[in-house]
Amino acid sequence: MRRLDWEALAPLGQDGRRTARRIGLCLGLSTLWGLCQFLASFLDARQTVLWAARLGERFPMPSFAALLSRTMLGFEILAVFLPLAAAGNYLSHYLETRSIYLMRRLPDRRDLWRRCLALPAAGLLGGVVLALALLGLFLAVYRLCTPWELTAGGAWWGMQ
């Protein structure tokens, strides 16, 4: 199997592997942040509802949508930052020299765009996949770990 040439995925002179690692780290931290946020909100809400039930009070479980707030913050920041990083990659060809002249006269016209966009686009795609996976996981946790009688009739969809 051919090894991935990280250097071909970043502007010349930049360390593609290091950039990929940084993006990976940001994705990991975003995932961790999302998990912690959701679990903290979910467990807190569940505990409150269970305590209320024990006291004979009706206190419905917050909706799934309400529990999601801020869980995707890391991915949202990445969604803003990665396009800026792609723009930065392009603009780097104007820094110190005009290497853009060389890149724009290459026989392979895709090289410039690959170097500017590949890693940020991969990061964005990875972010979307991870965010969807997290949503699925959160949904599963919400459905499986919330006693049905505690949800206010479909409240978990966020519709009271």
């Binding site: 110190e96 290497s99 006269r105």
Partner: protein, 251 residues
């Protein structure tokens, strides 16, 4: 053959009426020519080169052996610019690898020889080179790419005289008969012995086109031809000085 047919280029800045950078330039440059492109600042020299390379939009036609310049034949053109088009964080070796990957006619032997001739370090990032070394490396890349038409835009700005002289000699020594150089420069007297043809631009128009051989046969020189074409007045300075001093009274 590199043919430029009716090239027009306007620059617009805000609401100011468009400036004509190129105004109907038509010229054909054949294989093996060493062409000097002359003109005052803003005459359109750099714009012309950028049009040839497709780096900016223009009206008109640029043909390489009858074909428009596209990705299929653009490797036949190389470019050395005083703005530098290399990557500052990359080493000379790194550039070689990149050029070799993209330009199949890369001239390894020439690259090595020129690098050695100018004593340029192969493994130091280019941003640590001196200005002169950067210029040299820029030209080395353009010469080693394996292009048929080598465009150079003020490539020696910042190099000392001896350095430039060396380069002209090396250039004459290494160029193959089919390789064409288009050299834009202000150093008219320096390149006079070196170019085979002179193209003169003024305010975007081609105002002169002469072979240096023809000029020599007619007993003239390139410098005289350029001065004549641009309407240079030899007594301009003395007249100006006279005007400046005519009102002054003796103490």
């Amino acid at each position: 053959m590199l043919e430029l047919k009716n090239l027009y280029k306007d620059y617009r800045a805000g609401h100011i009426s468009p400036q004509k950078a190129l105004d109907g330039v038509s010229v054909a440059i054949g294989p093996g020519e060493i062409v000097g492109l002359f003109g005052e600042n803003g005459a359109g020299k750099t714009t012309l080169m950028k049009c040839i390379l497709g780096l900016i939009r223009y009206r008109g036609e640029v043909l390489l052996d009858g074909e428009p310049v596209t990705r299929r034949n653009i490797a036949r053109l190389s470019f050395a610019t005083c703005e530098h088009s290399f990557f500052p964080a990359l080493t000379a070796e790194g550039h070689r690898d990149f050029y070799r990957m993209h330009f199949p006619r890369w001239r390894e032997k020439r690259f090595r020889a020129l690098l050695e001739f100018f004593s340029l370090p192969a493994n130091r990032a280019l941003r640590h080179f001196s200005t002169g070394q950067k210029n040299q490396f820029e030209v080395i890349l353009a010469l080693s790419q394996g292009a048929d038409y080598i465009l150079m835009d003020e490539p020696f700005a910042g190099n000392d005289l001896f350095n430039r002289e060396d380069f002209y000699k090396v250039l004459l020594g290494i160029l193959e008969p089919t390789e064409t150089v288009v050299l834009s420069t202000h150093l008219l007297e320096e390149v006079e012995r070196f170019v085979s043809r002179a193209l003169l631009l003024r305010r975007g128009k081609l105002v002169g086109d002469a072979s240096t051989l023809d000029l020599e046969e007619r007993g003239g020189s390139l410098t005289a031809y350029v001065k004549e074409t641009y309407g240079y007045e030899p007594d301009r300075v003395s007249r100006a000085l006279d005007r400046l001093t005519e009102g002054e009274e003796e103490p």
